[in-house]
């Protein structure tokens, strides 16, 4: 958990760096997100007059639920005991909790942008939710696991890590990548670097925030993104998860995450942001890929 807390901003930095490199720019240092966070933590805050306690509490709840979700999904196999024997569904519902608080905070300031952002963010996450659940169910409903317990899934995955690049895993990986992009507000769905009224989603919701509030929100988003990547790296490409030593395991894990980050960066640079109302198509594509994964596992064998 603390590992994820420490390294999660790094990968946002890596994505930015990759995007810059592809555009033949130098780009900011990969550690820039850390500098930003430290700067934000030191800054004074402006809080809207209209807002209530929900607004003040939401960033922390968002951060805490993301962190709790990170805790439920261990980065290496050896540390699975720390997962508190929880469940993949618990992780999903932790994110739901954080999202609800953020959406309410968006409405709390009485600003039009906030409401618009909340409405869109909830819509997008609702649209990709079926795909996300199908991925989880395809992983968990495997008769040899028959459970969504993180512990049993890790055990199963480690035993079967030899056939990592099976059709099922590739399909689920593709679906999860799409879900991850939507959930962590990345480019074809949302543009994290723009502040244009008509296009922003997540940024609109958090528009009023400043100082440490904003730092905690940013941090929460980084963690959330890394939790999704961890899911992809450890459960969907379990290659090397059975490494004997902790250090080697961590190294393999980091390597896999970097590969995913590069993938995300390349996707971002090659696509444009979709219109809000073409997002259902995006979500349906993710869903169909997940359905194919499901059918491959349970029907077509």
């Amino acid at each position: 958990m603390f590992f994820i807390l420490l390294i999660s901003p790094l990968f946002t930095g890596v994505i930015r760096k990759i995007k810059s490199k592809i555009q033949h720019k130098i780009g900011a240092s990969v550690f820039q997100p850390y500098y930003d966070l430290i700067k934000l933590l030191k800054k004074d805050l402006v809080v809207s007059n209209t807002s209530s306690w929900i607004y003040n509490v939401a960033p922390y709840v968002y951060f805490i639920t993301s962190l709790a979700a990170a805790m439920c999904l261990p980065v290496v196999y050896q540390l699975r005991g720390f997962s508190l024997y929880t469940d993949l569904l618990v992780i999903v519902y932790f994110f739901v909790a954080g999202r609800i608080f953020m959406a309410l905070a968006g409405l709390d300031t009485g600003s039009t942008f906030g409401g618009m952002g909340s409405s869109r963010e909830l819509l997008i996450s609702a649209l990709v939710e079926p795909a996300l659940f199908l991925i989880i169910i395809t992983v968990g409903a495997n008769p040899e696991i028959a459970s969504t317990s993180v512990f049993s899934i890790y055990d199963y995955v480690v035993e079967n890590s030899s056939n990592t690049f099976s059709t099922i895993n590739i399909l689920l990986f593709a679906a999860m990548l799409m879900v991850m992009i939507a959930e962590s507000s990345r480019i074809p769905v949302d543009d994290p670097s723009t502040h244009l009224e008509l296009t922003m989603v997540h940024e609109a919701m958090t528009l009023e925030y400043s100082g440490r509030h904003l730092a905690f929100i940013e941090m929460g988003t980084y963690i959330k993104q890394l939790v999704f990547m961890t899911f992809m790296a450890n459960i969907l490409i379990p290659l090397g998860l059975n490494a004997e030593s902790l250090i080697v395991g961590l190294g393999i894990y980091l390597l896999k995450i970097v590969v995913i980050t590069i993938l995300v960066g390349v996707i971002e640079i090659n696509t444009v942001k979709f219109r809000l109302f073409s997002l259902p198509n995006y979500a349906v594509i993710a869903l169909i890929i997940a359905v194919l994964g499901f059918l491959t596992r349970f029907v077509l064998r």
């Binding site: 030191k42 004074d44 805050l45 402006v46 809080v47 809207s48 209209t50 209530s52 929900i54 922390y60 951060f63 805490i64 709790a68 508190l84 024997y85 929880t86 469940d87 569904l89 618990v90 519902y93 739901v96 909790a97 609800i100 309410l104 968006g106 409405l107 709390d108 300031t109 009485g110 600003s111 942008f113 409401g115 909340s118 409405s119 869109r120 909830l122 609702a126 649209l127 939710e129 079926p130 996300l132 659940f133 169910i137 409903a141 495997n142 696991i145 028959a146 459970s147 969504t148 317990s149 049993s152 009023e208 440490r212 809000l276 259902p280 359905v291 499901f294 059918l295 349970f298 029907v299």
Partner: protein, 688 residues
């Protein structure tokens, strides 16, 4: 305590309710007192009943409590039998009744001098007692009697404010739908009695109903009970009746009354009908999913009335319960005991949880209406500052229904997903692919439903409680009275407790399951199964809900410490919301409830068929707009495309009949009589 003693206490409770009803009626001269008396007796009786039923479920789970009263009417004996299933549902009724009675003390006071409180108090008590007796009835006739009583009393409670036109319309729709349902139930009961020769739940011989008849009875029961539950497409009374009823009655109706249908289905599945085919379960599962998805879509997109929103959300929750019930039927048909017990647990747990958080939310809506005098979301806003305590508890209700850990909604939602996962992993190796695909669709649909619930309740809480106030009424809102706050608080605390310690609720459900499944599935010995397959004990199945809560608290404390440290160095400035540099923001510039849900209306436009109307009054130039008016409306799909054609065709045929058969001439009528008589005589002579 022996079963006789429990029976005696049970009778005492029933008598207490009746006394409450009578004293409320007797003190009609002083509405204040009749309000107090009726609620006090209801509170007293319900508290006693709660303890009694918990005692029954925990300490005397192997016995059933029988109460017999002989009557002179043939075939009709008044026999009550409280087994664990009945006890569990009585528990739900009494818990909700305690909370709602507490709430009614203040809530009803604003009807004093406007309406007849003493009759209300009387009906209120009778309503509760009719539901209690309904679930303890041990034969079909008695079940029907109390079913009717419950429906009729609830009808009178719905039309309590009968002066208003919308109330009359709601009442009409409610009574028509209720009687359609009752007709189906009655037909089913007649068929059951005809095949088995018995009205008693316990003595019905399941094997004596042939499969074809059983299918027919099952469909009849599903329509009949489903009408009360509010499944789609026979749901149309719910969104009318709930908003116009007083909020305490909506809380009871939505929290408890619609669950009577769930009780009925479980009772008939286990005690009356044979195991049935797989398609029974698939049908119920599909109905459940459709209800859940369409219910929540309507809840978000088609209304700004807070109580109608909650009514649609009840349809959604009943859908979720039915989906789990469908899996239960599938498990029963395929004789999978593990899945059966798991799905039964999911059904009952969600029934209990929904009763708690939905009554909390309806009472919350009542509190909003009580202090802000409006049910329209577009006129609310900023209430979190006007009623801080009430808003906290309503917020807990919203989190609970959105399945946020560690609140109770999460646990039952989790159970339902686990049920689906277990059934997929059971049926996939058996090559029942169609079933697996249906289960997959169910899982995806339920996931979408779950996410939309969060959308819906962010809208509900965000628009009503946050931001700026949108009207004068909301501006003057105050915290409601102490009993109301206490009622909200107790429901909220219950939400939290059931979320952190679901194992106690599951223990109660355990006794229900062991009795039901053990009695009816004697072919396999339940106790021979390894104990870890039992839902409550299986660590792979249960989640450490207490640990999750602890984790959140610990992380919260750490973050709090960090924030405290940071706070010393920084300065917090309060300033206006960013208004893009224009003049001051006002409440009309906020996102409205209609605007918030617009994207969903567009995505589901096939269902809603949204119509928008923009009227612009132009000033000196085309771009100089003096005034604008924007209206948007959605189509009530099922009413327009299912009910209206039906009603129209009935009216059409009635007219036809009027002009061809019922011409008004006495000669013709006399001829009809004569003709019928001749036909009957002919029939008699041929058959005899």
């Amino acid at each position: 305590m022996m079963s006789n003693q429990i029976a005696v206490f049970f009778i005492v409770c029933v008598i207490l309710y009746v006394i409450g009803a009578l004293t409320s009626l007797a003190s009609f001269a002083s509405p204040k007192w009749s309000n107090r008396l009726s609620n006090t007796f209801a509170l007293l009786a319900s508290s006693l009943l709660t303890f009694l039923m918990i005692y029954k479920l925990v300490y005397s789970r192997d016995i059933s409590i029988n109460l017999n009263f002989n009557t002179n009417i043939p075939f009709f004996t008044v026999k009550f039998n409280i087994d664990n299933l009945s006890a569990f549902f009585i528990l739900i009724i009494s818990i909700v009744a305690i909370i709602v009675s507490l709430f009614s003390y203040t809530y009803m006071s604003h009807y004093i001098s406007k309406k007849n409180i003493s009759i209300f108090g009387c009906l209120y008590n009778l309503f509760i007692v009719s539901m209690v007796l309904l679930v303890s009835s041990s034969n079909l006739l008695l079940f029907l009697v109390f079913w009717e009583l419950m429906s009729l009393i609830s009808f009178f409670l719905v039309i309590f404010e009968h002066g208003k036109e919308e109330v009359q319309k709601a009442g009409r729709i409610y009574i028509i739908m209720t009687y359609t349902g009752t007709a189906c139930i009655t037909a089913a009961f007649v068929l059951i009695a005809a095949y088995t020769g018995s009205f008693n739940f316990t003595s019905i011989n399941l094997q004596s109903i042939p499969q074809g008849a059983a299918n027919f009875i099952f469909i009849l029961l599903l329509i009949g009970l489903g009408t009360k539950a509010g499944i789609i497409p026979v749901h149309i009374w719910l969104p009318y009746a709930h908003p116009v009823a007083p909020s305490n009655i909506s809380a009871l109706m939505s929290g408890v009354m619609i669950k009577m249908a769930v009780y009925g289905l479980i009772r008939f599945i286990f005690n009356v009908l044979p195991a049935g085919d797989l398609w029974w379960g698939v049908l119920v599962l599909c109905i459940g999913i459709v209800s859940a998805l369409i219910g929540i879509a309507y809840s978000i997109a088609s209304t700004t009335n807070i109580k109608r929103l909650l009514a649609y959300s009840s349809i959604e929750n009943i859908g979720i319960i039915l989906a789990a019930l469908g899996i239960m039927l599938i498990a029963r048909a395929s004789n999978n005991l593990f899945l059966l017990s798991l799905s039964l647990t999911a059904v009952l747990l969600h029934t209990l949880n929904h009763a708690v958080f939905k009554s909390l939310l309806f009472m919350g809506a009542g509190a909003i209406q009580y202090s802000a005098h409006t049910k329209n979301m577009e006129k609310l806003g900023g209430l979190i500052k006007k009623m801080p305590l009430a808003s906290v508890f309503i917020f807990i209700g919203c989190l609970s229904i959105s399945a946020v850990p560690p609140f109770n909604g999460f646990i039952s939602e989790y159970m339902i997903f686990r049920t689906i996962i277990s059934s997929i992993s059971y049926f996939a190796p058996l090559q029942s692919f169609l079933l697996v695909v249906i289960l997959m669709v169910a899982a995806a649909a339920l996931a979408l439903t779950g996410a939309l619930v969060a959308f819906c309740f962010v809208k509900f809480f965000g628009i009503c409680f946050l931001g700026m106030t949108r009207s004068k009424e909301a501006e003057n809102a105050k915290e409601p009275g102490k009993p109301m706050i206490m009622a909200l608080a107790s429901a909220a605390v219950l939400c939290l407790l059931l979320g952190i310690f679901p194992n106690y609720a599951i223990k109660l459900i355990d006794s229900v399951g062991s009795q039901l499944i053990y009695i009816k599935l004697l072919t396999t010995n339940w106790s021979l199964l390894p104990s870890e397959y039992y839902p409550a004990n299986n660590s792979r199945l249960s989640i450490p809900s207490g640990l999750i809560a602890l984790l959140l608290v610990v992380l919260g404390a750490i973050v709090l410490l960090v924030v405290m440290a940071l706070r010393k160095r920084t300065f917090v400035q309060r300033y206006n919301t960013w208004d893009c540099g224009y003049t001051k923001l006002n409440s009309k510039m906020q996102y409205s409830a209609t605007g918030f849900s617009k994207s969903l209306r567009i995505i589901f436009r096939g269902l809603f068929k949204p119509v928008r109307d923009l009227e612009i009054t132009e000033g000196i130039a085309p771009y100089h707009i003096k005034a604008g008016r924007y209206t948007t409306s959605t189509v009530k799909f099922f009413e327009k495309y299912l009910y209206q054609p039906f009603v129209k065709s009935i009216i059409y045929f009635s007219r036809k009949i009027r002009f061809t058969i019922q011409t008004g001439s006495i000669h013709a009528y006399l001829m009809y009589f004569f003709g019928i008589m001749v036909l009957m005589l002919l029939y008699y002579s041929f058959t005899a």
